[in-house]
Amino acid sequence: MNEINEVRKPPVATTGIIGWLRINLFFNWTNSLITLFVIYCLYQFIPWILDWTIFSADFKYNYLGEQITNQEMCSRNLDPENGGACWAVIYVRFYQFIYGFYPKVEVWRVNLAYVMLAFALLPLLYAKLPYRKYFLYFTYIFPVIAYFLLNGGLGFTEVSTNKWGGLLVTLVLGCTGIALAFPIGIMLALGRRSKLPVISMMCTLFIEFIRGVPLITLLFFGMVMLPLFLPEGIDMDGLVRVLVAVTLFQSAYMAEVIRGGLQAIPPGQYEAAKSLGMSYWRMNLLIILPQAIRISIPPIVNTSIGLFKDTTLVIIVGILDLLGIGRGTLADTNWLGLSYEIYFFVSLVFFIFTFGMSRYSLYLEKKLKTGINMGAE
């Protein structure tokens, strides 16, 4: 029986680089034609885009060696034959793109908040971080610190939010919206599935109403109508009004996403938890939600990315986020006509953040699939 004991190898043509090429790129003649066509397109496009964005581009000086201070000095405006992108506009306006009109003397506070944000995200990004518990405490109190740091108070001079702008506003809206909407969304999702008809009806109404209205409408609603609900004499900050609108909007979407996850949990899990004597909240916090949220990671990240990009809509109520600053710069006669550069830059910044979120979601999915514990500790 054991006489023939040689290991048979797969045919050479299906392994290695040649095998991979053959299977994936040159499987039959249509496949080969498409491959060649795509290679031709890339060959045309990649050198051109590299040339425009980097090799022929102006960064600070134009091709004559002068420092660029307005669009007329850009190489491509001086000599259309010579020159690509004129990044000088980003260089000159960089401060506004990142901080808006935040006073220069106080800008260290924004920088500190950015650094602290990175530290606050660390324990969420790396489960194996040493001393993760203490980092997490910091994450919980970070919003309070950031509020006083950015807004003022506790000995800091106040910086009114109408001086905020650019990436600062984008990040404040995005992070706060996502962070606040998550717990509210969970409560709404549980509420909608509640057996108590009043609670379930209220949650359903809220979700359906908010979800049925465009974000722009909610932003106008926040700007115009929220102050009407407040007692007289109390003025609500413009950015806070927008934040309320953005959070409400996001929590309705989050609720529906999490409800989807809740529906995927088999009834046996509820029964097992109940039979062990767990109360409603224990059952949900320890058994149901950790599993439901795990299932919902891809759509949660999806709606979060959506919100991060939708924050650009605040431009219509007069708040200048990253895109707003970009459009403001375009309206400046000094920089008229540099829309390629500005939109390219704004897109790139958004892409960096959203791509990061997307990779994080993949990492989470992979990590949780291998069975490492999450949330229940």
Binding site: P266, G268, Q269, E271, A272, A273, K274, S275, L276, G277, M278, S279, R282, L286, I287, P290, Q291, R294, G371, N373, M374, G375, A376
Partner: protein, 247 residues
Amino acid sequence: MSEESIISLKNVNKWFGDFHVLQDVNLEVKKKERIVVCGPSGSGKSTMIRCINRLEEHQEGSIVVDGIELTGNLKNIDNVRKEVGMVFQQFNLFPHLSVKENITLAPIWVKKMPKAEAEELAMRQLEIVKIPEQANKYPGQLSGGQQQRVAIARSLAMNPNIMLFDEPTSALDPEMIKEVLDVMVDLANGGMTMIVVTHEMGFAKTVADRMVFMDEGKIVEEASPDKFFNNPESDRTKLFLSQILHQ
């Protein structure tokens, strides 16, 4: 109701919509008694034991468990559930937690036991069900028989007075049934009050103090195993036994 009854069902009725799933069910279970409930599927046996820890609500009649009547009172329900352990056909382990965490979760959060003590308890329970070496695995990495034994250990960790088993071996491959039944026999010999819904007639013969046969939502026959298997009274029981024993 006799003094020693730990579970007492009186004229219990329940409907699913228009379907009358439990019809005037009466059952008294004494302390340390082992009851095996059998009957064709849809006869209401699972529903009956699920009423005992209020996973299902009965609509008429009374159910008293260890002196506590099951009503809408949430506190009573929680107290009864602390007394009564339950093992399910589909195991229902918590897949996001390790075996050890599955067992320690309820002692820590419901009984407020310190974590170290709960872990010690979990290891003791895993010894009892003979799989201490699986403590750090996740449910998905275990065989069906091992999962069901973890489920038993998880229930036992709450130190219940009564154990309910809802077809504990029906979802298992044949070669794993024995390892689960062995654990249940040990438990029965240790003096646990048990109500077991099962089709394992061998188990019933060795362990049961009393057999309960249900059909169409009614208890048709209640007898000692000896009488039940050798000399049943009702024709319905005879038919059922002839079918199940001649498979």
